[in-house]
Amino acid sequence: MASIPTTRRGLAAAMRGAARPRSLEQQFQAMRLSAKCSRCLSTESFQAAPEIDSEKIQGMIQARHARPVPVSPSYFSRTSRFNDSYLALDKLLRIYGNLPIIPPNAVERVSWKTLDDFRHAVGEQVRATDYVKCLAIVKRLHQIHPKLKPAPVIQALNDFKRSVQAFKNETVKQQLDKYGRSLGNGRRKSSSARAWLVEGNGEVLVNGKTLADYFGRVHDRETAVWALHATGRMDKYNVWARVEGGGTTGQAEALTLAISRALMVHEPALKPALRRAGCVTRDPRRVERKKHGRVKARKRPAWVKR
């Protein structure tokens, strides 16, 4: 006889409550019950529903005491995340500082985060001097012999490595394609050139024109094919090139580099000869920017006595 006959919410709640059943029972007893109560009513003791157990309700906060405290002990400095990692590194150096280190030239090259990268990563305006001190510790820890480097050190150093490690890049060895062509890129000033070199009899096409049509100046024509000329390969290759940007000089010199790089794919042994001819190194000079207070990059305004 467990059912409790009502739909009324108040009654149901009262019967669920632990404190009430006795009085409710008494009430029921006080009522004169007919003998034919067959369905549910009874004076027998019944099991009341348990109280809502707050422990079992998920998400409810059980704590009697709670107070907010800072996560980091560097809470009151403006660079708390940086300070934490700096102190952690300092501690690591104190613990593992006596492990043997390898000479700097044998250490694996790593591109560390720049100050801007690091600031971006931690979201704090870290001071440059502090970051330099931190990086010095990082580099010292990185010098520990790789076989003896403890796991916490490796983990701590990972936070300071850039996501892209340029030193791990391997140079792609250029090869001839299936038609026997080699491709070389070259840049100079603001021009860029791509030259395809194929064995032939000395024909040169630049942007669809012959060398003489494309370059008005003789000097530029000579410069463009200087790599072939200097190595005596003028009549052994055909060149098909695209040049963009810049002026004629820049384009011609971009072509030199492009052709020489393409030539080195055909004949790698020519590299020293090409270097002597000045066709291997990219000329990094660009137009110098204009400065304020100057007429051009360096030209000063005319000086008048008064």
Partner: protein, 389 residues
């Protein structure tokens, strides 16, 4: 001519398809190949020779270095084993001076001898004194004020007691020391006392303008035994940053802005006051030399140990149910709000389930229950109830 051109044009394609084709076609050229490497004179040859020699030397050196590096781990292992073996040999030095011993293992209290040994008594040149410190000054010697170490010891004991009790009452302590070389001291003491540290410049406004400056500071909610509590994420996101309940400053002279903010926010401060400092800047003065790292390390060490004792006492008492701090009002209201909301949700869910004809927690469905009319009919007989009331 035509045949030759044919050969040049079509043979090129055929040959280039082969993997190692390229150099045959060059031979078809009419021009003689100029010898690029052939016209070197003797000097150049000599230079080349010496260059190859240097390259060989470099190669050998690199190999030697590689061997050395490869042997390092085993050598180091041997070294460590040897060191361990010979550790116990020879005479035993019982007491020696280790500069960072006072930081690693600071004393619980400082005797007058300790204070004297740490040069806590050295004040500044007499011309630089602040007359407010006259009660702490024992005398002067070679134009330098000597701080009375009895005063120092007494004030240090008082300050240590303050730190201990603040830690015991669950307060947030901040150790500040931003002179050069004070970083290890401050961080170690904060670690001992379970406190915060500051070894850089105090950003003015971190107390008076905390809502702006400490906005991104991470907080966590802990209970009386310092366990992190769940369910406060929303509250921690929206609540105001915290302020320290006690600030310990090792160099008050450089921290005018901090101490002034503390005074405005009625945060008590403990400070090491040298003869040139103004003692009224801090609540609890400790007259001592603040220029020597040894002196500062000793004083900070005693305070750190006091904080450590306070934290230990607090945690021990918390295990027995004694908690000396109160939950902040906003946290309390957050707890009630969350709990009420969850309770209501559960109730509503239950109601909904019942309304849909599902069973309640006793396995009863609405169909099992009698309506009010039925109850009355059962009690008083079928005619007792009017059909409508």
């Amino acid at each position: 001519m035509i045949i030759r051109n044919f050969g040049v044009r079509h043979g090129r394609q055929v040959l280039s398809a082969l993997p190692s084709a390229p150099s045959c076609l060059r031979l078809l050229s009419t021009q003689t190949t100029s010898a690029v490497a052939g016209n070197q004179d003797a000097m150049e040859q000599l230079a080349a020779l010496s260059a190859t020699h240097a390259a060989r030397e470099a190669r050998l050196a690199a190999k030697r270095q590689q061997r050395e590096i490869a042997a390092m781990p085993s050598n180091f292992k041997k070294f460590v084993a040897y060191q361990k073996e010979t550790e116990k040999l020879g005479s035993e030095i019982e007491r020696r001076y280790l500069p960072d011993e006072i930081i690693r293992n600071p004393p619980h209290n400082a005797s007058l001898e300790d204070l004297l040994a740490a040069q806590c008594h050295m004040g500044h040149h007499v011309s630089r004194w602040n007359p407010a410190n006259s009660r702490y000054i024992y005398g002067q010697r070679s134009d330098i004020h000597i701080i009375s170490l009895e005063q120092t010891a007494a004030h240090l004991r008082r300050a240590a007691r303050v730190v201990e009790e603040v830690a015991y009452h669950g307060g947030l302590i901040l150790f500040v020391g931003n002179r050069k070389g004070q970083m290890p001291i401050v961080t170690r003491m904060a670690e001992l006392a379970g406190a915060c540290h500051l070894f850089q410049k105090w950003t003015p406004g971190c107390i008076t303008n905390k809502d702006v400056l400490l906005q991104g500071g991470q907080l966590k909610m802990v209970d009386e035994t310092d366990r992190e509590l769940k369910g406060f994420e929303e509250h921690l996101r929206d609540c105001r940053p915290v302020t320290p309940d006690l600030v310990v400053c090792l160099n008050p002279l450089e921290n005018y802005a901090l101490l002034r903010e503390c005074a405005l926010a009625t945060v008590p401060t403990v400070g090491v006051v040298d003869t040139d400092a103004d003692p009224s800047w801090v609540t609890y003065q400790i007259p001592a030399n603040d220029d020597s790292l040894r002196s500062v390390a000793l004083i900070a060490g005693v305070l750190g140990r006091a904080g450590e004792r306070g934290q230990q006492r607090r945690l021990e008492d918390a295990k027995q149910g004694i908690v000396m701090w109160q939950t902040p009002k906003d946290v309390k209201s957050h707890i009630t709000r969350v709990n009420r909301k969850i309770k209501e949700e559960v109730e509503a869910k239950r109601e909904r389930r019942l309304a849909e004809g599902g069973a309640d927690e006793n396995g009863l469905k609405p169909a099992d229950l009698m309506t009010e009319d039925e109850v009355l009919a059962e009690m008083f007989g079928p005619g007792a109830v009017p059909s409508k009331y």
